[in-house]
């Protein structure tokens, strides 16, 4: 995790200057959430840009600023890059007004990836809440592309309501690839026949072979906290629990200071952390 690989889309002369990518498709995912499919204008970059599951790009809208957005597409699909974006702040609301053909600035990819190679041979539980599924989707693609390298795989996913669930049309594909999928919502509606409750609850649905299991999680911090608790309670080693964190990020390269958590710059030393790296800080409030 420590070797530095130069990100493909970062200018040498000014690392804060963006590369430009065109919006080639916009897919509505849920209320206030869409996936933006992008293609770099620079043909050479479009071919050479590569990322690892769990990494993010800084997405720039001139006049509004940049937001750190995880990449939610298949890392092996080199034709385009997908970002699933929730319209929640200044920049992402500007993103919501983009049309196909518009250009956005991109810098990246930044940050640490999910440890897909280290986890080969392991059972994997992916626990996600809300938009937290987006940074985990590349990990799911990776598992499906190399299904034989992993043991039992469970996806535990929760959203506020059935309408807020991301990528519902893909769950069948996941199941075809021998992945167990369990979903839950905070509030059901008339159509919902599944479970109601929080994501950590879904751990009670199956038995884990703890020593050979790993947990990958992303979502609201409160959910992450309880997912970690459930993992540890089942004796999953702390160094086999991986967490993707979010903070205010401006540079993506560990320079501007904003995303610090203790000694870490989340943009550079994270966003994916092994839980044993975080133990000292994770339960300190407002740190």
């Amino acid at each position: 995790m420590t070797t530095f690989i130069k990100p493909s889309a970062v200018h040498e002369a000014q690392p804060m200057a963006p590369h430009w990518a065109d919006v080639v498709e916009i897919v509505h995912e849920a209320e206030g959430i869409s996936t933006y499919w992008l293609k770099f204008q620079d043909k050479n970059l479009a071919e050479t840009y590569s990322f690892l599951p769990g990494q993010f790009n800084m997405v720039y809208i001139p006049g509004y600023g940049e937001a750190a957005i995880s990449i939610s597409s298949d890392a092996e699909d080199r034709t385009r890059i997908g970002h699933t974006i929730r319209f929640v702040g200044n920049v992402t609301r500007a993103v919501s007004r983009l049309k196909v053909g518009d250009a956005v600035g991109i810098r990246g990819p930044f940050g640490t990836p999910w440890p897909m190679v280290e986890l080969e041979g392991h059972d994997i539980t992916i626990a996600a809440g809300g938009i937290g599924l987006a940074p985990l989707r590349p990990a799911i693609y990776h598992i499906m592309n190399h299904r034989e390298r992993y043991g039992k795989v469970h996806i535990l996913y929760g959203a506020r309501t059935p309408n807020d669930m991301l990528y519902p049309e893909e769950y069948a594909l996941w199941k075809e690839n021998d992945i167990h999928v369990a979903t839950t919502v905070d509030r059901a509606d008339d159509t919902w026949k599944g479970s109601v409750g929080v994501v950590p609850m879904l751990f009670y649905r199956y038995r884990m072979d703890a020593p050979k299991s790993a947990v990958l999680t992303c979502g609201p911090e409160i959910m992450i906290r309880f997912v970690i608790f459930e993992g540890l309670a089942r004796r999953v080693p702390a160094d086999h629990i991986y967490v993707s964190l979010e903070r205010n990020m401006k540079c993506g390269q560990g320079s501007c200071g904003h995303c610090q958590l203790g000694p870490y710059f989340i943009c550079k030393d994270g966003p994916v952390f092994r839980f044993d790296q975080l133990e000292d800080f994770f339960n300190v409030e407002e740190f």
């Binding site: 002369a13 000014q14 804060m16 929730r86 702040g89 401006k250 320079s255 501007c256 550079k268």
Partner: protein, 373 residues
């Protein structure tokens, strides 16, 4: 003497009247010379062209929350202790253009600003300040991220350092081992005696600048006078910061009740971070024209005391003053060490002097050693 070859590591005496020639030499070599000037009853770092621009005869009395320039009877030029300004504003400007975008159909053309960077010569860099520059070198010139402006300005930089002979009451460089004598890293270091400046050559460019000036060999008498002055200065520094249990003292006391006690006095104004010569946090700001055809993106100093500093989609990570103060101090004296190999404090005392509430970290730190309640 002036015809002999000067040597790096050797010390020479320059009559004070010749100092302007040294400045002229620097100008000839393309340097913009910057130094301390009196302005509105404080000291600022600005362009200087002659020794007379320096605050001759001034000392600066400094206490927690207090800075007073005072004229004395003596005629020395470097007895002052710097004010709120530090050199960081020149290497890491408080506002700086990153690029400008011009609308072009559905896309944008990126225009990078002129890459020609100024060549600065800092005149009068103190030991603590030189250490601060070296700390920021590690921040802005990392293997995996180099800030182009900083790197260029730093490569161009000429440092004329000064040994501090009259430290202020707020100085505690001895605790951080950054002064009062300057450590290597300078091009020339200067010690001010009554009639002459003693100059030690620290680099090849420093040697070239001095070559040909009417220098005298430094006598044992002068060297001893300089040594005595430094010993007196060291004795004068009474303020202390015990660093023996740092950084652990910080990282193991995140839940200490003293954070709240400090927060009751702290205004969260961020002065400490702006005057701190090592604080490096920055933000980005876009300025657009009304037609949306042009956007300038700038980098500006930020502060961990700004409420917006840690604001993101999930809310504000540090919504209270106590959590922001804790972030600042645990970073400075704690986690900085793991990030950059040193503490983030050089003992200059600026955060003490320029705190409107007079919060003094050297007084607060020992309180974290007391029992938590």
């Amino acid at each position: 003497m002036s015809q002999e070859k000067l040597e790096i590591g050797s010390t020479y005496a320059l009559p004070k009247a010749e100092f302007d020639n040294l400045l002229a030499r620097l100008k000839e070599k393309g340097f913009e010379t910057l130094g301390a000037k009196v302005d509105h009853e404080t000291l600022v770092y600005e362009p200087i062209s002659a020794l007379a621009d320096l605050p001759q005869g001034y000392i600066s009395e400094q206490k927690a929350g207090e800075f007073r320039l005072k004229k004395t009877h003596h005629k020395r030029y470097f007895d002052y202790i710097p004010g709120a300004h530090s050199w960081k504003q020149f290497l890491f400007p408080s506002r700086q253009e990153l690029f400008t975008l011009h609308k072009n159909g559905d896309g944008w053309n990126t225009e990078l600003p002129d890459v020609e960077q100024p060549k600065y010569a800092f005149i009068g860099v103190r030991g603590c300040e030189l250490s601060a520059i070296q700390i920021q070198d590690g921040i802005f010139m990392r293997e995996d991220f180099t800030d182009p402006t900083y790197a260029k300005r730093r490569q161009n930089l000429f440092i004329l350092a000064v040994n501090c002979l009259h430290p202020a009451e707020t100085c505690f460089c001895t605790s951080l081992k950054t002064g009062p004598k300057v450590s290597p890293g300078f091009d020339i270091s200067l010690t001010e005696l009554e009639d002459v400046f003693l100059l030690e050559i620290g680099s090849e460019i420093g040697r070239l600048v001095l070559q040909g000036l009417p220098l005298e060999a430094s006598s044992a008498f002068l060297l001893q006078a300089a040594q005595k002055g430094l010993e007196r200065a060291e004795k004068k520094i009474q303020r202390e910061l015990d660093t023996s249990d740092l950084p652990d003292l910080m990282t193991k006391n995140l839940d200490h009740n003293h954070w709240q006690e400090i927060a009751e006095r702290c205004l969260s104004c961020g002065n400490c971070t702006q005057v701190c010569p090592t604080c490096f946090c920055w933000d980005t700001v876009d300025t657009s024209d009304l037609l949306g055809k042009e956007t300038k993106r700038e980098r500006v100093w930020d502060s961990c005391f700004n409420p917006s500093y840690s604001y993101y989609a999930g809310g504000n990570t540090r919504p209270t003053i106590s959590t922001r103060y804790r972030q600042w101090l645990t970073h400075k004296l704690g986690t900085w060490k793991e990030q950059y190999g040193t503490l983030g404090c050089v003992g200059c005392g600026r955060c003490i002097v320029w705190c409107p509430a007079g919060i003094d970290l050297t007084e607060e730190i020992p309180l974290f050693r007391e029992e938590k309640s």
